[in-house]
């Protein structure tokens, strides 16, 4: 961790500043190593890297980090290292002296010095005050008990985490942005959280009543208790927090109380130094205070009567400040702000003024089913405010129109449906909309990055989302602009030029498939609830997208050990049959390599008659499908088929389906090898193996390819000299012919290569990704390198496959026939009529 034990290592350098080697440069001293202070220095260095020698004093014992990301740190989604903006290397590189952990306690404007708590006195030519804000603590009885914590810096997060260890109850006072993010984090950390909010609706300064109510319901659905209109009377406890008492007498038990009711600009130093101070330190359009050599920036300032509590205005301020310092004019004219809540899976956006009133016009769209609420407020044909809940994709666009003050009469009727619709009748390419944004349109509000800067970063070599994130920081914080950044990547580089990055698995998590999978393997996770807990799932038990995927990943990682979770499987895999549109099931027994016998055919015929199956059909996969079986009859049907030696064909499963064959050398006048025999060997070897998606094979006896091997996931085309092994074929909507993987000379080699290929696919493809899109994504070269060129690697893959197979070739039908999970098939109460 980037720690600076500053008080111990930095020694007082005497009342008269006397640097060891005289430095002719002007000395810029910055008070506050936070977001605004460091950004101002960055902006200055970008304009003139030589004029100033810089010293930064920080009260916190850390390098400069991204304060807004404390919420994800609390929630366990990021680590402290991941939110560092400038590490110690940055200070060293620019010759900046960081005095961390030693706050400035006095400014002497006559002597032009500052004094730190350690007694150190430092002279300045220019002074920059960037002390941020102090959390407001309501002075109720008990407010100073241990266990009452504010939410402002890393120390607060550490204190909350310590308190949250072991669970228990927490009360968060304040239902604004900070309070709700604290509540979310603590809930994910296993605490039972109650939010107390004085006003009748949450985030009332950013949201209107409707959105506040939707937000409340959404948070309640996640297990939080939200009490609005709740006025705190006292914090109870003897030596430590034990509860909170409300004015109406209610008492809520709590071992942790987070006070998040508001902030006050931190102006004590400035006031004591005699600078002009109103609510904040008063500054002009270039951030100069009432003393020409003292500047101030960030949340501690008041500009034109306004104080700000969000980062976007800081970026504007820092640009004007740096320009002013190097003698350029670029007056700061105030900022319009927008707000986003950083709670995974909850999209809330607001901007501008939506209090309504004289001359204002509301456009509202509600989609109760989707949980969407959008409201745009117009005045004099211009957007002056917007509140979005549930679908915030167009927030940036509304905000851009609002800031530019653009007239919207021409698109008034479709405005509420969003940018894609408004700019082209609904069919418009959403890309065109992003392309149409001006260069100075702000893309990333968290880090103050404009479209022009994102494009410059891409043009400078950032070819993936991750590269853009580390390059210009766009999309590196709350992530809400990710979609736009991806579009900019595609626009700048063309679709092919973009290196794909992880997309999140589903709404329940902020991780992508690959990250989740890596974490499962690296951290040795063993069960779905463990994955959800450790990776901070935002829902109690996932959804129908992530649960089957997690089940598969665990199954693949821990063959023989992991206990399959039936409730995380799609019904077909749970009932081992294909559900049909009328709720009945179809049953497909295996017919090895498409070869059958009179006994099998007789057993099938008997089943059809005995259970009145309305249809029996030859499938496109060379076997028979019995349709219209009732759920209750499935075990009996299977019992009859098992008795004739047949097992499940997995026609329903993300697993090996069919292995199609042609007659081959045994009968066909063109046949070169025993394609039927090899097909049967493959099917006997590979059936039962769970895969990311369904998997089909075929073996054709010659290049005439009657078994259609070249549109299969794994296809063999026999030739005189051996076997061509083809991979990544697909029928379906997008037909893809296979790629030739390798040619081998014996059946054994063919089986061995097949095992290695299947295992690579099992271990690397994302759930529900068939071999065709997987190979398109990772490239044939990668597959060849692993399966063909790396002999030892191939052997290891094949060995892992056969190990896994040793646990997976139990016929699921036989298990059910033997009585496993009988309840799944039987009604709960036979005679409830």
């Amino acid at each position: 961790m980037e720690f600076f034990e500053a008080t111990a290592t930095h020694v007082d350098d005497g009342p008269v500043p006397a640097p060891a080697s005289p430095d002719a440069r002007e000395h810029l001293v910055v008070i506050g190593n936070g977001m605004a202070g460091c950004r101002a220095v960055e902006e200055l260095l970008a304009r003139d890297g030589t004029r100033f020698r810089v010293t930064i004093f920080g009260a916190e014992p850390h390098v400069n980090y991204n304060r807004i990301m404390l919420s994800p740190v609390l929630a366990g989604e990021r680590t402290f290292q991941e939110i560092v903006i400038n590490d110690s290397g940055w200070y060293a590189q620019h010759g900046i002296e960081l005095v961390a952990g030693d706050p400035v306690v006095a400014i002497d404007r006559v002597a032009r010095t500052v004094t730190a708590r350690s007694g150190r006195v430092t002279g300045y030519d220019k002074l920059l005050i960037a002390t941020g804000s102090d959390p407001f603590i309501i002075p109720v009885p008990g407010h100073d008990l241990p266990g009452v914590i504010s939410f402002r810096d890393m120390a607060d997060v550490d204190a909350m985490l310590a308190a949250a260890a072991g669970g228990g109850e927490a009360v968060v006072i304040g239902g604004g942005l900070l309070g709700l993010e604290a509540a979310h984090g603590l809930t994910l950390r296993g605490m039972k959280v109650t939010v107390l909010h004085l006003m009748p609706t949450l985030m009332e300064r950013q949201l209107d009543e409707a959105a506040g109510w939707l937000l409340k319901s959404a948070l309640e659905a996640r297990g939080q208790t939200i009490l609005t209109g709740a006025d705190t009377a006292a914090i109870l406890g003897d030596g430590k927090v034990e509860g909170v008492q409300l004015k109406d007498g209610r008492v809520l038990p709590a071992k942790l109380v987070v006070m998040a009711v508001g902030i006050r600009p931190s102006v004590k130093l400035a006031r004591e130094a005699g600078l002009a101070v109103g609510r904040g330190i008063q500054v002009d359009d270039h951030m100069v205070t009432s003393d020409a050599d003292v500047l101030a920036v960030g949340e501690c300032v008041e500009h034109d009567g306004q104080c700000y509590g969000l980062v976007a205005p800081l970026w504007d301020m820092c640009r004007s400040l740096a320009d002013g310092l190097v003698g350029r004019t670029n007056p700061y004219r105030g900022s319009v702000t927008s707000t986003k809540l950083k709670v995974a899976g909850l999209d809330v956006f607001s901007a501008g003024d939506f209090s309504g009133g004289e001359g204002c016009e509301d456009i509202v769209l509600r989609d109760a089913a989707r949980g969407v609420y959008k409201r745009v407020v117009l005045k004099d044909d211009r957007i002056i405010g917007a509140v979005l809940f549930g679908d915030t994709g167009d927030g940036g666009w509304y905000f851009d129109l609002l800031k530019k003050g653009e007239r919207v009469a021409a698109i008034r009727d479709v405005l509420i449906y969003g940018q894609a619709f408004a700019s082209g009748g609904g069919l418009a390419d959403p890309k065109a909309a992003v392309a149409a944004l001006s260069d100075d349109a702000e893309i990333c509000g968290c880090n103050g990055v404009s479209k022009g800067q994102v494009v410059a970063s891409i043009a400078g070599g950032a070819c993936s989302l991750d590269a853009v994130r580390s390059g210009c920081k766009a999309s590196a914080s709350c992530g809400s602009c990710t979609g736009i950044v991806e579009t900019l990547l595609a626009l700048t580089l063309g679709e092919e030029g973009v290196q794909a990055g992880p997309k999140t698995m589903c709404k329940c998590t902020s991780y992508g498939h690959d990250e989740v999978r890596r974490a499962i393997v690296e951290q040795g996770m063993r069960a779905i609830p463990e994955v959800m807990q450790r990776l901070h799932w935002s829902t109690p038990d996932g959804c129908s997208s992530c649960r089957p995927a997690l089940n598969y990943y665990l199954l693949c990682a821990l063959p023989g050990e992991y206990v399959d979770d039936q409730q995380s499987r799609f019904v077909n895999e749970r009932l081992h049959a294909n559900i049909q549109k009328d709720g009945t099931y179809s049953v497909v027994p295996r017919m090895w390599g498409g070869v059958t016998t009179p006994t099998e055919l007789r057993a099938i015929a008997d089943v059809v008659e005995k259970y009145n199956a309305p249809m029996v059909k030859v499938t496109g996969g060379q076997r028979l499908d019995i349709f219209g079986i009732r759920k209750e009859d499935l075990p009996a049907v299977w019992a009859d088929l098992n008795a004739a030696g047949m097992v499940s064909g997995h026609a329903y499963a993300k697993a090996l389906r069919t292995v199609k064959t042609c007659v081959g050398s045994e009968w066909c006048r063109f046949g070169t090898q025993d394609s039927t025999g090899l097909g049967i060997k493959l099917e006997r070897g590979f059936w039962g193996s769970w895969m990311p998606h369904k998997f089909k094979m075929a073996v054709s006896g010659c290049p005439r390819n009657c078994a259609e091997a070249t549109i299969k996931d794994f296809g063999v085309v026999c030739v005189d000299s051996g076997y061509e092994l083809h991979v990544g074929g697909n029928g379906g909507i997008h037909v893809r012919a296979t790629d030739l993987l390798v040619k081998v000379t014996t059946e054994e080699e063919a089986m061995h290569t097949a095992a290695a290929f299947v295992q690579l696919y099992r271990e690397e493809a994302r759930y529900l990704e068939r071999t065709a899109p997987w190979i398109e994504r990772v490239g044939l070269g990668h597959v060849k390198a692993r399966v063909v060129e790396d002999e030892a690697g191939r052997d290891a893959l094949a060995a892992r496959f056969w190990h896994s197979q040793s646990f997976s070739q139990d016929d699921p039908w036989a298990e059910r026939v033997a009585g496993a999970d009988a309840g799944l098939h039987q009604p709960l109460l036979a005679a409830a009529e």
Binding site: A221, D367, A369, R370, G371, T539, P540, D541, G542, C543, S544, R547, P548, Q566, Q567, S568, R569, F570, V571, N572, R574, L575, I579, K581, D582, G583, K631, G823, L824, Q826, P827, L828, L829, A832, E833
Partner: protein, 108 residues
């Protein structure tokens, strides 16, 4: 007056799963969620009649096995972009026992 009929205990229902029965001619799906709450719906998806009892149960919702619409177990309403609603069958847990309101028609 609603008649309550006893249909069994929590242990008869798979966690995050469902079982079915027929009540006054209607198929009913009884669900048990992750937090051991019990819900009952007519076992017919408002979309095209899919058997909701066969869906994946998550949170207080079930994903229909036919086309993956998500249905709220508490209200029977389709969640997400589509509309529609399947009738809810009132259900009560009394001690160990699960009680279902009967007949369904009176409640629907």
């Amino acid at each position: 007056m609603t008649d309550w009929i006893d249909i069994g205990t929590l242990a008869d229902l798979p966690l995050r799963g469902s079982r079915t029965l027929t009540l006054a001619g209607d198929p009913v799906a009884v669900f048990r969620t992750h937090d051991d709450r019990v819900f009952a719906l007519i076992d017919r998806c408002p979309h095209k009649g899919g058997p909701l009892s066969a869906g994946i149960v998550h949170g207080h919702a079930v994903a229909c096995p036919l086309h993956n619409l998500r249905i709220s177990l508490a209200t029977g309403a389709v969640l997400g972009e589509d509309a529609g609603c399947t009738p809810v069958v009132p259900v009560r847990v009394a001690g160990e026992r699960i009680l279902l309101a009967s007949p369904v028609r009176a409640a629907a």
